[in-house]
């Protein structure tokens, strides 16, 4: 029983690990550098190039700590009604949005 539990845990972890890897691999390094630029420059128009905020709120790892990843992903995908935040799901793929969320939580390098 204990053995089975460990096996399941192992399988789950490897499954998760693979899916994360798969996401990353589906984005070419060239596209990643485009997304990095988009994040710094275009998102940066409202959130600041250092993500310390502007017309839009700050999105530094410190600020994001207390926010759910799902909420952030949803906001980037669908935009936020009543604010200037537009939906990006018509322009970016799910994987690309995930990559952006991950990069924000890690902290973007200039």
């Amino acid at each position: 029983m204990a053995f089975n539990f460990k096996l399941i845990l192992f399988l789950l972890i490897s499954l998760f690990y693979n899916s994360v890897n798969a996401e990353d691999e589906s984005i070419s390094s060239m596209r990643k550098s485009e997304l990095h630029n988009l994040l710094l420059q275009d998102c940066g128009s409202c959130h600041g190039m250092t993500m310390k905020g502007g017309l839009g709120p700050a999105l530094t790892p410190d600020v994001l700590k207390s926010k759910s990843r799902e909420m952030i992903t949803r906001t980037i995908s669908n935009g936020r009604a009543g604010t200037p935040m537009p939906p990006w799901n018509t322009i970016l793929t799910k994987q690309e949005i995930n990559w952006i969320v991950n990069t924000l939580y890690k902290g973007i390098k200039l």
Binding site: N37, L38, L40, Q41, D42, G44, S45, C46, G48, M49, T50, K52, G53, G54, L55, G79, A81, G82, P84, P86, P87, T90, I91, L110
Partner: protein, 393 residues
Amino acid sequence: MKTFKISILLTALLFSGCAYFDTVSLRGTGDLGVVIERATGSVKIVDTTNLISLKQVTGLGDLSHASVVYSRDERYAYVFGRDGGLTKVDILKGEINKRVIQAGNSIGGAISQDGKLVAVSNYTPGGVKVFNAATLELVEEIPAIYGKDGERSKTVGLVDAPGQRFVFSLYDAGEIWLADFSSGKAKITRFKNIGIQPYDGLITPDGRYYIAGLFGEDGLAVLDLWHPEKGVKRILNNYGRGTKKMPVYKMPHLEGWAMTDDYVFLPSVGRNNVLVVNRRNWKKIKTIAVHGQPVFVMARPDGRQVWVNYAYPKNNTVQVIDTEKLKIVKTLKPGKAVLHMEFTPRGEHVWVSARDAEKVTVYDTATFNAITTLPMAKPSGIFFTNRAHRIGL
């Protein structure tokens, strides 16, 4: 003998004088300007006669949303950075003259009618700070406090107005404030309930009307500065995002609103249109379908053409509208991420920045030929010194 010695001395003095003027040649600044290099926190000083970049000045902080006003002698450029930095750049010497970090997060600024005050519009802490233009010492702080709990609003659309006044809007509060410095100390007049989320403002070139764009609803808020006692009125009630709210990938800028003799050309919000409006009665005359969501809609100084750039992801293009035919007459591709355009004072050239193409292209506005390109690091705003003598810039 004595006379001989004196003449040698005089000759030496004369020559050393010549040497001085050889290294630091006298020149005016009327054909100079600065280009913001947003990613490196630097500006390039440019010469619009010889079409060259003269010098890079570094150390200006986060310039991801930067703007510039000029001292009235056109020697100093005041650069407003995103990170609250206010930098006074000596464009003759090509160096920073003074620099202060005056807030946590700011959006733009203005210089007073007499050139003695520089005001900065801040997001954090929300409000406007006014500085001595010579020393950058704080003269007065105007916190944008609203509501019962003393909340502070982000301030936007700050401009100077005749009568030593500044006008700005409160994004979170939906108010326009008029700060009159004619007595030396700010006298504030508040206009409440002007509309939801004013996101930028402009003043007409004659300095009479202050107009705020609204993001949260349709229409524009107008304050007649000849008659502020009449309050804020609404115009173009069908101007805005409309009932079906379209996503906006970059906020349009109002500063570049194009005004010609008869018309005002406005960027549609969230739609691929430029609107042509009668300047006298604010009635819409025509909707011109364009390449993307317009960001800057700018008239050549003679009003014969209007140049338009666009929001992400259609931002590699610039279009030219003929103001007589009210039609697009030219489409240009200056490169990836066109962010700004600036005309030379009399409009023979326009300088266009393409951020991701890392260059500024100079176009002949009569032939639309690219005359030259200047390599720049992520260029954004372009500001020529003739702004020094224009109300509201």
